[in-house]
Symmetry: none
Subunit: 448 residues, 2 copies
């Protein structure tokens, strides 16, 4: 087997990476996992990895998914290092699967395992987060190939392994998406870049809320046309929460120059989109709101009906929220709306629990009770049942009590319960964010 690989290396020696010339690298992605092969999970790793490689100017020749078996792994890797410069593997590294991939790669590269203290320390550190200590099994997991570069994985117990021989690179990573993403972003791509074998790349990612992709692309049409060929604007896929992520990427040989140019373009982009942009990278709306509340030293409470605690959950998912968040009432029953929030029984009787009048009284009642500067309240028909002709499923009212009064808004959503709850929560949080930024002008109102 080693002989075959040596032959492959030989054949590629003429155009290997040590030539220091920047050329298009060719990569093959190998995902190991029976759970993918039985259709239990969708292979999102391959798409994410390919997207990143694409941004770095590395071509992906093929993606292959194989089972957790030695023969399948060997065949895939042997064939891949024949065709590509860079082979990126995920999976086959769990505590039970540990041996297969690691040993297979050791055989393939003529390497052997030895105890790796740094890997063991990392395992111990991670177990500690769960209140556990590493036993002997973990000493086995910390056995690593002697000659490979070990890529310590802050997100999990299995490190990445970087094998290299005569210009061919094989990197093995865990299959858990967040661990793979960490290793790719923080280790693999930076190493490739530091060796100056791929071009410099600079990204700036903005997150927007309140308009769809089509609207945004219309708003940005002339901006996109103004970009030089080495700067690209990409719309990253929506993850189901209505956020739209826009990524500006520049490629070139001079990092400083690129960064300066991207900064200028970012300013133009911000001018175009204004407060449709709420943050950078992985930020959430509740994160953006949290920053404003802290900065302005304001307090918040919530009175939820149809969102059933989802807004409170989002707000309290931010560490340190106790500085501005007092609490929430999930007043699902009319009794609670009356008893805890002081809604007038006649209001409910006359206009219904799902009405502008009720949602406003909920906000006012919570403001009195909780003594906070701001209150978000919601009341609606989340579905799938409970609608009438006058108030179909998806009819939802939100209100925001502020120091000078109450603002209210009617939403007409669909009939998917989970989606209605998620959308209402995001729209409510975003509406308060815009209000606090004095930006609740008509053209910036979420258009739902």
């Amino acid at each position: 087997m080693k002989k075959i690989i040596a032959a492959f290396f030989e054949a590629f020696l003429t155009k290997n990476l040590s030539s220091h010339q920047k050329r298009i690298m060719k990569a093959i992605i190998i995902n190991i996992g029976d759970e993918i092969l039985i259709g239990q999970i969708v292979n999102t790793n391959a798409a994410w990895m390919a997207g990143e490689l694409n941004v770095y100017g590395i071509d992906v020749l093929s993606m292959i998914t194989v089972s957790d078996e030695k023969e399948a792994i060997v065949n895939a890797v042997e064939s891949a290092i024949c065709d590509a410069d860079l082979v990126l593997m995920t999976g086959g590294l769990g505590p039970t699967k540990d041996d297969i991939t690691k040993k297979t790669l050791c055989d393939l590269f003529g390497d052997e395992l030895e105890f790796h203290q740094e890997s063991f320390d990392n395992i111990a550190r991670i177990l500690l987060q769960f209140g556990r200590e590493p036993d002997d099994r973990y000493r086995i997991q910390a056995m690593m190939p002697k000659n490979a570069q070990i890529l310590i994985n802050k997100m999990g117990t299995a490190p990445g392994m970087w094998f290299e021989k005569e210009g061919k690179i094989v990197v093995s990573m865990p299959g858990v998406p967040k661990e793979m993403m960490y290793l790719m972003s923080k280790k693999v791509l930076p190493i490739l870049q530091s060796r100056n074998i791929i071009q410099e790349i600079v990204h700036i990612t903005f997150i927007c809320y309140g308009k769809g992709e089509t609207d945004l692309s219309e708003m940005l049409e002339s901006f996109e046309l103004s970009l030089p060929p080495y700067i690209k604007l990409a719309y990253l896929p929506n993850t189901g929460n209505g956020y739209i992520r826009l990524r500006l990427s520049g490629r070139g040989n001079d990092r400083k120059e690129l960064e300066d140019e991207l900064k200028l373009k970012s300013e133009e982009l911000k001018l175009q989109l204004g407060n449709l942009i709420f943050g950078m990278n992985e930020e959430s709306l509740e994160n953006a709101l949290s920053k404003i509340l802290l900065e302005k030293n304001l307090s918040l409470s919530i009175a939820e009906s149809c969102t059933g605690g989802k807004i409170a959950h989002k707000i309290t998912s931010i560490a340190g929220c106790s500085k501005y968040f007092m609490g929430s009432v999930v007043a699902y029953s009319n009794e609670l709306k009356i008893d805890l929030l002081g809604v007038n029984p006649e209001t409910i009787q006359k206009f219904g629990a799902v009405s502008e009048e009720t949602v406003i009284e909920m906000a006012i009642g919570a403001k009195k009770r909780f003594k906070t500067d701001y209150v978000i309240s919601t009341s609606g028909i989340a579905g799938p049942d409970g609608g009438t002709e006058a108030k179909p499923v998806g009819t939802i009212w939100i209100a925001i009590a502020h120091p000078d009064g109450v603002l209210s808004k009617k939403l007409k959503l669909g009939n998917l319960r989970e989606r209605n709850i998620e959308m209402t929560s995001n729209i409510a949080i975003n509406t308060l964010r815009l209000l606090l930024l004095n930006e609740l002008k008509e053209d910036l109102k979420p258009t739902y």
Copy 2:
């Protein structure tokens, strides 16, 4: 090239499908598409196809994604028909890509193209739906391999093609998911089944909570040993909520017989695990709790501190919850714990907000206020900051007020905020579920 394939066929002749014996078919999935290789779209086709094949008892050996180029397609198909009985291909059949895959497969199978009236009629029918008529370009699209079986595609203009030679089957389908799904469900799988070459398969999936995979596998050791070779028990991956899904799968020739036998084995499994099993298929703990509350006509309210609304959100994610769920207070501040839940200020001062005493008073206070049969309350340090030596991050108390008193429980979790909130919510809901089932025996207590 044809010679190589002939040799492959030769090698497989001994165990080919014409022997009419039901054996495990082996399949390879090939997805053609540059948009997958640059990470623009996630390859959901492969997962869906693999899931269907799995249900029909066909093993997927590997999945490979290659580019829209002749050489890449030829290599992938040649290699696949060497290893598998059935090669399922998607993509490379669009109006612009049409020629590549079709011509490549014609070459590979020594076939040639001829005009295919039925395909042309189908194209005409589909164009008519958009108010258009087929022009000459569509006569080219309707050129089909002479010896292949053409699978008319009601969902689009490109039909599927079924090539077969000496027991090896290669099926080419369009890459548009709904078209591929139509051809798979309505043509490919029924043809395979009608030929009686694939086995019947029956699945039963249970979901458990309260013990880890290792504990469950120990409990089920003798059960697993008792299974006949055609019935398998699989542990499906945890999706981050601590649920463990167990799938019993049986394969055989007689569906009725299989179903009966699986039912018996399911009963044995249920006996072994008792109320560690909370549901079937995709059910959630809140779903299981909902059923019990409805059945027993009981009401519930919640008083959350550290879980910040997550429990209320879970409960209200179930449609129809308003029949038993009154509401929740998220009492993040001490003021709210005192004001809304009637916690004694001295209790908080003496024992702290995170204490058995406080969480019990929260539950009792909520029970009085909400007048419900049951209350769940939580108070803890979700992290990542706010811990002390005596009460480190991850110290969380839950209490359940019931008609006869209050039950309380201390959890020692880790320092990951999101995870602590999720785990506490699930443990609390599960504890109430077990209490309602009169099953809160020591050995069934969640062991965290």
